[in-house]
Structure formats: structure tokens, C-alpha cells
């Protein structure tokens, strides 16, 4: 055995061991590309440079054998300089497009670069160091060194939101984006600055480092956050939805959208969703296949004398039409439609830019569908309430209270819900209540009519919950039930089958 010292630590190695093996034994860091413990020695990458004793020249660790008493180091400036130059030579002809290289993230060259790279470019002047990972408030992060000072973000807060938070401070190459006294950038449209920043200087806290954008597909849609109905693109892959960005629409939102609208994708993703049909029996929920659920529903609908539909303006024009048709088929029943607004006090408010107090994408569509609405008090005397719930119950604070009240009255509910309502802590749903997973606007196609009466199309994007139904699909299924032969179902054109379904009750 030979004793040697590596970066000040003593180690014993068997005779014939190379210096690099001694480094590895000690788990000391040493750069190397060509050396591999399972292969012969090549000594060509010249990166494993070490200094031995006070020798005048550097040695490569992979092709130098340890001798007893050797003092070896790779921590001196001379060694580091040599490794740095070695890196430089390796990079002369190497492309500098790591982001599109498949090895990125586990590449030896990248790893060495992180340790020895010359972060400063070869320009004679020193690079000005600026602030990194600056917290610009609730939603935005700034990396000043990446900013190219185009001033788009400054002009956005000056001209669009008129909140004037951002400015370019200092002068010349010390110029930097910032806010006065580092106050937060907390206007309701702040993420637009991230969209318009041409580089990686402003990034979204919600999205940064979540996904590489080239792994995302996008679907055109309409924001369901309020009756403005901004044109958007939704970005998704098989793991779910990741972000929402505005699409230029001269008639509606121009180039922008609000920050809240960008959060709406979150309730679409799987963890928060209701994934199968559940039936409540004795305060517990049991899964039900569609077939049995339809049986149950048909029975419930035929028994019920007084049926109410608690509707919000969160569904498509097509769904309202289906609802209207369905009701017309049930002539022998009383069906009351109750139109539930999210928040009557702020319903008509408008912030002057985009955000409206009417938190529904299709209020006009609902009103134009020609329903006759009853007073909400009819709900209390109903024995069955069909409740296609708002997608985002958070903007309907009183809605859940109403469901709780009805459940206390032992009213049977047929809930069509995006979120997993069965997890609700305080509501004890009446026996026979059904919770059916509902499609979100991102999972179905159709039309919304916005506050100005503009009919806009939404496209079917990625389906996150396979079992989810649209309101129209549910009604269709109820209408057809199991009485209709499957082939009839397929060849069905328009109203034929609805006649048949009229006899169901």
C-alpha cells in the first residue's frame, strides 16, 4: 500500500493505483471525460490535471501512478486555470445549443461548465452583475441580467394598467428594471409583462421550471373567468394543463388578459376533480356505472313531482339548448329553472380594462336561450334538484350554502360537478344524491356569448377526466336511457328519439 495526500487528506491506495483512482477513493472532485473505470486509459481529454509535490509541470491524474508519499492537489489556481483552458478547447467546435440537446441536464460538458466555465464572455470588459431571482410580488420573478431593456414591461404598467410600478433605474450598462423601493408588482394584470418580455427576464412564478414549452400543446379557447370572454390559448400535455395565455382579439381583449383568468386551468387538473359517478347512501358515497346511474336517475325523475334546475351561466349555448329541449319533452312535469348569479352586488361591475363582476362566460347565452326563470324559493319545495354546478365554485360563495340548505331539507340532488364535491366537509347530502363528473370548458367544444353579445367558439382540448359529461351529454343519456336500442342511438338524427323519451315518465 502507498500513502499519499490528496488536497490535504491522507489516503492509502494499493500499489499500481492511478492518481485519479485515489481521488475517486476519497470522493474528491476531479474533472475527467476520457477516463472510465471500466475501460483502458486514453489520456486525451486533458481535464484531470493535478499538481504533484512541487513539480514544475501539471500531470494528468488518469495516467500517473501514485508513488508513496506523493502530495497531490487539484485545488491550486494553476490547475483550475489549466482545466478552464481545457474546457475552452473542448468548446471551440462544440455547438452552444444545450437547450435542444437531449443530453442536457446530465451532460459531462455542462457539469464541467457549471464548475469551471468562464461565465464571463471573452469580451475585454467585465460583465455587469445584476440582481437575480428578484421577487416582484405575488406572481412575477425578475432576472435582471437577462433583461435587454426593451422597456415593454415598463410601458405596459404605464400605458395599459396605468399603475406605473415598473421603471428603468440607473444608467448605461447599469440600467435595471425595478420597482420603487422594491414594492411588489401587484396589479391584476401583472402576468402580461411576462408574456411581452421577449427574453427570460420576467417569468411567472406559477409556470417557471414546470415544463419545457416544446413539450406543450395548445388549444384555442375562451376564458371562463368572467363575461368579458378573453381569447386564450391553453397549454397542456399528458400530465395536465400548465398555463393559459391571451390570444390577440381586437374585439374583446386586445393583447391582454387578467391574472385571475390564468389560474382557471388549475381546477381542470386531475387531483381536484371528481372522477366517477358517486351516489350518496347513508352519508357515504358509492361508485356507480353510467348504466346504473341512468336507471337511478330515470327512476328519480319519474317519481319526482316538482323538479328544479339550478342553473348558472357557466355552460355553453349548446348545453342550454339541450336543457331547453329536454324540459319541453317532460310536459307532464313541473320543471322550474332557477338562475343563480355569482354575486348580485358586484355582478355589473367593470374595472375599466377587462375584468367584469359577472364571473360567467355565457350570461348572454343563458338569457338568450329563452328560459323562464322562477324565484329561488321554489328550490325549497322541490323534491329533486338538478344542479349543473359552476366550474369554479370559488366565485359562487353562496352556491354551496344553498346546496347545504337543500340537503338539510333532504332534497335529492343530481349534481354535475367538476370538483370533487363529495369531499365537502360540512354538507351531508340526502340519500340518493348523485354526483356526476362534469366536463370543463377546456374538455368540450361549444359557444359562449360574451357581455357584448359576441358568440365565441371554444375548442375541445385535452380530456382530463374520461368519465366526465357535458350537461348536454347527460341530458341526452337520460333522454335515451336504456330503452332505446343501441342502433337507434347511432342512427338518430334529430328529434325522433326525444319523442320516445317523452314516454319514459
Amino acid at each position: 500500500m502507498f500513502k499519499c495526500t490528496i488536497n490535504g487528506h491522507e489516503v492509502e491506495v494499493p500499489e499500481g493505483a492511478s492518481v485519479i483512482e485515489a481521488f475517486k477513493l476519497l470522493k474528491e472532485d476531479i474533472a475527467h471525460y476520457c477516463w472510465h473505470p471500466g475501460l483502458s486509459i486514453a489520456g486525451v481529454c486533458r481535464l484531470c490535471m493535478v499538481q504533484i509535490d512541487d513539480g514544475p509541470r501539471l500531470h494528468i491524474a488518469c495516467n500517473t501512478l501514485v508513488k508513496d508519499g506523493m502530495k497531490i492537489t487539484n485545488q491550486t489556481e494553476v490547475v483550475k486555470e489549466a482545466v478552464r483552458w481545457g474546457m475552452d478547447f473542448h468548446l471551440i467546435n462544440h455547438p452552444l445549443d444545450c437547450p435542444i440537446c437531449d443530453q442536457a441536464g446530465e451532460c459531462g460538458l455542462q457539469e464541467q461548465y457549471m464548475k469551471y466555465g468562464q461565465y464571463d464572455s471573452s469580451m475585454a470588459e467585465k460583465k455587469v452583475k445584476k440582481r437575480k431571482v428578484v421577487d416582484l410580488g405575488e406572481r412575477v420573478v425578475l432576472d435582471s441580467e437577462r433583461c435587454i431593456l426593451c422597456s415593454r414591461c415598463v410601458r405596459f404598467t404605464d400605458e395599459v394598467t396605468k399603475t406605473n410600478e415598473l421603471g428603468i433605474f440607473n444608467r448605461g450598462d447599469h440600467s435595471e428594471i425595478g420597482t420603487f423601493e422594491d414594492q411588489p408588482l401587484d396589479n391584476k394584470y401583472s402576468l402580461n409583462t411576462v408574456d411581452i418580455c421577449p427574453v427570460g427576464a420576467l417569468t411567472s412564478k406559477d409556470f417557471r421550471f414546470q415544463q419545457r414549452v416544446w413539450y406543450l400543446k395548445d388549444t384555442d379557447s375562451i376564458c371562463t373567468g368572467c363575461s368579458t370572454g378573453c381569447s386564450i390559448k391553453v397549454y397542456h400535455n399528458k400530465e395536465g394543463l400548465f398555463r393559459v395565455k391571451p390570444v390577440f382579439n381586437e374585439k374583446v381583449n386586445g393583447h391582454w388578459m387578467c391574472d385571475e383568468g390564468r389560474d382557471l386551468y388549475k381546477h381542470v387538473n386531475a387531483p381536484v376533480r371528481l372522477k366517477q359517478i358517486l351516489k350518496s347512501v347513508g352519508n357515504e358515497w358509492f361508485p356507480l356505472g353510467l348504466e346504473r346511474a341512468l336507471d337511478h336517475l330515470n327512476e328519480a325523475f319519474s317519481k319526482a313531482e316538482n323538479i328544479s334546475v339550478l342553473i348558472t351561466a357557466q355552460h355553453t349555448v349548446e348545453e342550454y339548448k339541450a336543457l331547453k329541449n329536454w324540459a319541453q319533452q317532460l310536459q307532464d312535469k313541473t320543471i322550474n329553472f332557477v338562475y343563480w348569479k355569482n354575486n348580485p352586488e358586484s355582478f355589473d361591475s367593470f374595472d375599466g380594462l377587462l375584468i367584469r363582476g359577472d364571473k360567467n362566460p355565457n350570461t348572454k347565452g343563458l338569457l338568450e336561450a329563452g328560459f323562464e326563470f322562477a324565484d329561488a324559493s321554489v328550490l325549497d319545495s322541490s323534491d329533486l334538484v338538478l344542479a349543473p354546478m359552476p366550474e369554479n365554485p370559488a366565485v359562487y360563495p353562496k352556491y354551496m350554502e344553498k346546496l347545504e340548505q337543500l340537503s338539510k331539507l333532504q332534497t335529492q340532488l343530481c349534481l354535475l360537478s367538476v370538483s370533487n364535491i363529495t369531499q365537502h366537509e360540512t354538507i351531508n347530502f340526502a340519500d340518493g344524491t348523485l354526483a356526476i363528473p362534469m366536463k370543463t370548458a377546456f374538455e368540450k367544444a361549444g359557444h359562449f356569448i360574451n357581455h357584448q353579445g359576441l358568440t365565441q367558439k371554444i375548442h375541445k382540448g385535452r380530456v382530463i377526466v374520461k368519465a366526465a359529461l357535458g350537461l348536454d351529454e347527460l341530458l341526452q343519456a337520460i333522454k335515451i336511457g336504456k330503452w332505446i336500442q343501441p342502433q337507434l342511438l347511432k342512427s338518430r338524427k334529430t328529434n325522433e328519439s326525444s319523442k320516445v323519451s317523452g314516454e319514459l315518465w
Binding site: 415598463v154 404598467t157 404605464d158 406605473n164 410600478e165 415598473l166 421603471g167 428603468i168 433605474f169 440607473n170 444608467r171 420597482t179 420603487f180 423601493e181
Partner: protein, 167 residues
């Protein structure tokens, strides 16, 4: 309110604001007025100026940060700006700046422990023929040596102390 911009300054600033086509043009005289009062421009004064002029704080901050003549943090009783540009540097300006720092035991841009000076190395002040030179407050002191510069500073510091003793 009005803690950082007292009534007299406020009147001056309001007059300046009326003088130009746009309020932003009045920023430099307004900021100088604030600096004259405090020796530097505190953030609270910017906030007050923002209310007074109806200009966003970030706009004022842009101007404030652009010019080195505005002090963004407190300075000593004497703000000593030593020219370190070509002519002065050739005649020992940089050494002079360092010498003053060492004497008052202070680094550049800081307030000396005694509170007397803040030394800033600056670019050409247009008195190259009398290099090396320094500016203290509004006044130029030229053809300096290490000794003559310190003499000037001691005298000025003494006068300041006398004035504040009177007050």
C-alpha cells in the same frame, strides 16, 4: 405628512411644476431642492413629491437614479467629490482621493465615523488645467496636494461645526 418636504420647499416645487409644459420637467429642480434640505434624497421625500407632482414614484426614481449628482443615501457634512478622470489622475487625483479616505478612516461613498465627510471619486469636473481638484458642496478647490486638500476640509468642517453650534 410634509415631514420631508416642508412648506417653503413645497412652495418652490409647486412653482417649478407650473413653470414647465409637463410636470416631469420640474423633477430636477425639485429633487435638488430636496437634496439641499436633507443632503440626500430619501425615499419618503420621493413619495411626497409623487403626491405633490402627480408623477408616479417609479418615474421620479428613474430620474433620481439616472443622475449621479443626486445622493441616494445619506452623506457626511462635507460631500467631497474628488476628480479621478484623466488630467487629475495623471496629477495624483486618485491617490488624493485615497489619502482623504485613509485620513478620515472611510471607504468611498460612505459616511466617515465622525460624520464629517463622504468621499466620492468622480469623472471630469471641467477644471483639468488646475488638476488635481475636488468639489466640496458647490465649491471647487484646485491645484491640490494631499496636505492642502486636508487643510481645506479641516477648515470647512470647523466652520460647519461653528454654524451648528450657533444654531
Amino acid at each position: 405628512m410634509n415631514e420631508y418636504i416642508p412648506q417653503a420647499d413645497k412652495e418652490f416645487i409647486l412653482k417649478e411644476l407650473k413653470r414647465y409644459e409637463t410636470p416631469i420637467s420640474a423633477l430636477i429642480p425639485s429633487l435638488f431642492c430636496i437634496q439641499k434640505r436633507h443632503g440626500w434624497v430619501p425615499a419618503e421625500a420621493v413619495k411626497e413629491l409623487s403626491l405633490l407632482s402627480d408623477l408616479p414614484e417609479s418615474r421620479i426614481n428613474e430620474v433620481l437614479n439616472f443622475y449621479t449628482m443626486f445622493n441616494k443615501k445619506p452623506v457626511g457634512q462635507l460631500h467631497v467629490q474628488v476628480c479621478c478622470n484623466v488630467s487629475c489622475a495623471m496629477n495624483g487625483g486618485r491617490e488624493l482621493a485615497k489619502h482623504i479616505c485613509e485620513t478620515y478612516k472611510v471607504g468611498f461613498e460612505q459616511v466617515s465615523p465622525c460624520g464629517t465627510v463622504t468621499v466620492s471619486p468622480v469623472e471630469c469636473l471641467g477644471a483639468c488645467d488646475k488638476a488635481p481638484m475636488m468639489q466640496v458642496g458647490q465649491a471647487y478647490y484646485e491645484d491640490l496636494t494631499n496636505e492642502s486638500a486636508l487643510e481645506v476640509l479641516e477648515k470647512l468642517a470647523f466652520e460647519k461645526a461653528k454654524v451648528s453650534a450657533h444654531v
